[in-house]
């Protein structure tokens, strides 16, 4: 039985086509076929958030999405955040606050932060902690990550006020 499927989708606003088997996860296709290795694999079972991407405006763990499911969808990955010459404000804030050590969790945290701020541009610290509960970090102790998110929310809100 030939189970290969041809999939058309959009990743970071570019049209992308790939061939996969039904059993391939979106995570494995992103990393291994499309060489978008910014999205990380931590647990491969939905618990750590390292593989976070946004599909049609919804934050998901790409290890729990079959690649065949994304036909016709719009996917945002960490590679889509930085501009040609500058980093995204969330990336800058993570650097400023030194909110990373080994860095394997960082793309997931940044994507989860983007999703949070897209929905709620002015979150409280508690809202930040709650919405990042699905992302695990073994290095930083979380405080610096939370501070980075508070910073970036402040900066974007101040800009909005000008």
């Amino acid at each position: 039985m030939n189970m290969k499927k041809f999939i058309q989708t959009s990743i970071n606003n570019e049209r992308v086509e790939f061939i996969c088997e039904p059993r391939d996860s979106l995570l494995s296709i992103l990393r291994e076929n499309l060489r978008l290795t910014g999205t990380k694999e931590g647990c491969n079972n939905g618990n750590c958030g390292a593989c976070n991407v946004i599909i049609d405006g919804v934050l998901v763990n790409s290890c729990l999405v079959l690649a065949v499911e994304v036909e016709g969808k719009k996917i945002e990955t960490i590679e889509g955040l930085a501009g040609k010459d500058d980093l995204h404000p969330i990336q800058n804030a993570f650097l400023e606050e030194a909110a990373l050590q080994c860095g394997i969790c960082t793309p997931g945290f940044i994507i989860a932060t983007k999703n949070l701020l897209d929905i709620n541009p002015n979150p409280t610290e508690q809202e930040i902690r709650k919405s990042l509960a699905g992302n695990l970090c073994r290095c930083t102790g979380y405080d610096k990550i939370v501070r980075a998110v508070i910073d970036v929310a402040k900066i974007s809100n101040n800009k909005g006020d000008e």
Partner: protein
Amino acid sequence: MQNFDYIRVKSKDELSELLDKQNKEIKLLSGGTDLIPQLREGKKDIEIIVDVKNINEMNELSFDNTLGLYIGAAVSCLNICQDVKVKTMYPGLIDAISLIGGVQIQGRASVGGNLCNSSPAADSIPALIVHKSICIIESKDGIREVPVEQFCTGPGKNVLNKNEFLAGIRVPKVDPEFGAAYLRFIPRNEMDIAVVGVGASVEIKEGHITTARLALGAVDATPRYFDDVFEPLLGMAINDENLDRILDDIGQSISTRINPITDMRGSAEQRKHLSKVLTKRTLLKAIERASNQQEVN
């Protein structure tokens, strides 16, 4: 991951047709947050995965003044928790549904999947039971309705026949006299499976309790519904000085009627203790909600 084929269906008719004809091992895919890890662990011998998320009728989330709330089996927890009507009318359901995983799981996980995975610890099930919810089950042969408390038959097992699927869940309309709540105990604040989960609902008329329902998760092979422990509560005034003691007694009695297991999340003894404490707290919260609701109206 094991090999399987993937089919996307667009209507309930197409799905019924397919389930009726196939003699292969089929599993339906909704959010995949239970199924995909299970496939990866090789726990299931499956030949075809049928994706039901793209069926419009199964994404229906609607409210009707006589029938109440209808939750299509594939509606995500996120969509339910964002719905203003559900939030204001069914806070006891939101208690449970909002607990299922973190943000990333909420966007994919469905209540239909939570029910059909039939874990004894599934958070939505006790809350659905105390809301008197009904499973709408469909197949080529027609539609049948099963109360949620009769849906699960064992860990990972339920009443669905091979040719049947869960189309949706109907949650009856609630009166202003009604209040419900769901509480669970987990080692972390987020992202874990219940050690014990308790759903409770009550109705209060003129300051007196007229009905009460209680359901517990993670204390037995299936979520447990208790329909008979409330005689001491019925007719009782909510400011009665004996209420506290009676709630303790109910909790005590529940803790002797369950068969919890010992596993990495907790011992059977701890689960019995938690059942007692949470039964009381959840009932108190349901009573509080029912009384506040009446003040608003």
